[in-house]
């Protein structure tokens, strides 16, 4: 059942999501853009923590770096924001090299704290960048987003204002990122390296004994997720239009919420972040008016899931029903007929 279920439902879901800017309101597009971006961050963090065992609480560093690199590309070097996105991803990946060099000496909780420190150092360092507004931040030049590559095409396609076209374009980019990330994660995890990664997560000592290099695989995942996170950071701040160190390197927005999403959805599963982000969005709609209470409720739910349903909603669902539309496992080949002579 799982095999026929997945190829049908996924493209339909994506198609439905793609139609939102055409039929939905701008407010809905902006809301769902945020949801999609959180999903991109969650997919990256899940890869890092759920599959590579690298529980980072400093991924906001790469959101901020990607966002700042995008702003620098546009403001200082006169590039198109879309090209700036790519620069953001590449700069985030490049800076992930020294970050990995230092934080990979730490394990477990120490690694988590180490990445947090790195993110704060990055926030403080970017506050010193006077050309991009220092501690108070700056805005994208007037019209930079609206003159962006592809906006005119989108306008021709769906009509409406330039601002609406920017919203639609960024929304579609976020959706595309989600789809590409989901497919790439799935392909990676099913590959030789993905198998090695899961072996390392389960037992690094044994993994080394069967020829798997844990450091190489973890470093690869760390760099790739920094790239994905950096691009997402750039995309977020094209839409937001204004950057400041506090917003770009926000622990709460780009890491704490993301961890919540992955944990309630099911860490170490591919559909987990998708389920998690839906729950998160639902709760936000329900409770956003209550301010602090909303965060307290989120925290309590997170704790409850960690205590009573450690596999998260998706993990629990798979365990109960045995149904897994996105299986990562390799089935053993059917036993050949015994050929004893």
């Amino acid at each position: 059942m799982g095999k026929t279920f997945t190829p049908l439902i996924l493209p339909l879901l994506v198609l439905g999501m793609a139609l939102v800017p055409v039929i939905g309101s701008r407010a809905l597009v902006q809301d769902l853009f945020m949801v999609l971006c959180l999903l991109v961050l969650a997919l990256n963090w899940n890869m890092l923590a759920g599959f590579a065992g690298l529980v980072s609480v400093g991924q906001q560093a790469f959101v901020g770096i990607g966002a700042y690199a995008m702003f620098a590309s546009v403001i200082l070097w006169g590039m198109d924001p879309l090209a700036g996105l790519l620069v953001g991803g590449l700069v985030a990946m490049a800076l992930a090299v020294p970050v990995a060099f230092f934080t990979f000496r730490l394990n477990g909780a120490y690694f988590a704290i180490g990445t947090w420190v790195v993110a704060d150092i990055a926030r403080l360092a970017f506050s010193q960048w006077k050309a991009l507004g220092g501690g108070t931040g700056t805005s994208l030049p007037k019209g930079a987003a609206q003159e962006m590559l592809g906006v005119a095409t989108v306008r021709g396609l769906i009509g409406g204002s330039k601002a609406a076209a920017v919203d639609a374009l960024t929304y579609w980019l976020a959706l595309a990122l989600v789809v590409v990330l989901l497919l790439a994660s799935w392909a990676f995890l099913r590959s030789r390296m993905g198998l090695g990664l899961q072996a390392v997560r389960d037992n690094a000592l044994a993994a080394r004994a069967v020829g798997v290099d844990p450091l190489r695989l973890k470093a690869l995942v760390f760099l790739l997720t920094a790239f994905g996170t950096g691009i997402c950071g750039g995309l977020l701040f094209i839409q937001i239009g204004r950057i400041s160190p506090g917003a770009a390197f926000s622990l709460l927005d780009w890491t704490a919420f993301v961890i919540f999403i992955v944990v309630i959805g099911g860490i170490g599963t591919l559909p987990g972040p998708v389920i998690g982000v839906l729950v998160f969005y639902g709760l936000e709609r329900l409770l956003a008016d209550y301010g602090t209470v909303y965060l307290i409720v989120l925290g309590l739910i997170g704790i409850a899931i960690m205590l009573f349903a450690r596999r998260g909603l998706w993990g629990g669902f798979v365990q109960r029903t045995g149904l897994d539309p996105l299986p990562l496992s390799h089935a053993a080949p059917a036993a050949p007929a015994p050929t004893r002579s």
Binding site: R192, L195, G196, Q198, A199, R201, D202, N203, L205, A206, A207, R208, A209, V210, G211, V212, D213, G268, S329, H330, A331, A332, P333, A335, P336
Partner: protein
């Protein structure tokens, strides 16, 4: 020394943890396809010797040669790819992977097999180790005998030329032990060299052609099992029998 002939050769290997000399000037050659047993009291440095051979520990002095090539500076991953496989004393399965996937990782990485070659290789080993029926079961939930079998099967999947077995028969019932010995004999018959640490002596001596006794990190004796077991100093130190 017959270093040119040996598949694995240890030359004056020593290792200390602080003031404690856990391995002292151990030298021996292992011929291709040979089966060597290692015995000695607890704390004699048997597992440390394995960790030196696999590269989990670096010796303070001495050299380890594989096919006459010095591998002393190589990582466990490189040594595995060069043909050293091992099973751990306490089974170390990849809990969340299936039994088959445990072997598949070993075959794809250490065994250097392609995606096309690996499945048949793994299926063959599953059959030979009696794990075929459990292939799609998660390794984390296996009972002891099957964990021990999995240790052996996973080591075999790396296509080793030397396989190191660390107390693989420990904790098994008599019947289970007989089964495991049959599998080890099968591996040996296919030409894989074996170094086997074991307290279950009758299991060990039914396979190995040479026996080494370690005591306080030193090689006390190496030779034919009967001669070694008959030696007074071995009887005294290892078996606690007054000579």
């Amino acid at each position: 020394m017959g270093g040119a002939m040996a598949i694995l050769s240890l030359q004056n290997v020593s290792k200390s943890f602080g003031a404690l000399k856990v391995t002292q000037e151990v030298s021996f050659d292992l011929a291709p396809g040979e089966a060597l047993g290692i015995i000695g009291p607890n704390g004699a440095g048997k597992s440390t010797l394995f960790n030196l051979i696999t590269g989990n520990l670096r010796p303070d002095q001495g050299a380890i040669l594989l096919d006459g090539r010095d591998v002393t500076g190589e990582t466990p991953m490189q040594r595995c790819a060069s043909g050293i496989g091992r099973s751990f004393q306490i089974p170390q399965p990849f809990d969340h992977l299936s039994v088959y996937e445990n072997l598949l990782v070993a075959a794809r990485f250490g065994g250097r097999l392609t995606a096309a070659e690996a499945p048949a290789h793994c299926a063959d080993i599953l059959r030979r180790t009696g794990l075929a029926a459990l292939a799609d079961r998660k390794a984390g939930g296996l009972p002891l005998l099957n964990r021990k079998r999995l240790e052996l099967a996973r080591a075999m999947a790396t296509r080793p030329r030397v396989i190191l077995l660390d107390e693989i028969a420990g904790g098994l019932t008599e019947g289970e032990c007989v089964e495991l010995v049959a599998t080890i004999c099968d591996i040996h018959a296919q030409g894989t060299a074996i170094i086997w640490i074991e307290h279950v002596l009758h299991a060990l001596t039914s396979v190995v052609s040479r026996l080494m006794v370690l005591n306080f990190g030193r090689m006390l004796m190496i030779g034919a099992p009967d001669a070694v077991m008959a030696a007074p100093e071995v009887r005294e130190i290892y078996l606690g029998i007054e000579a």
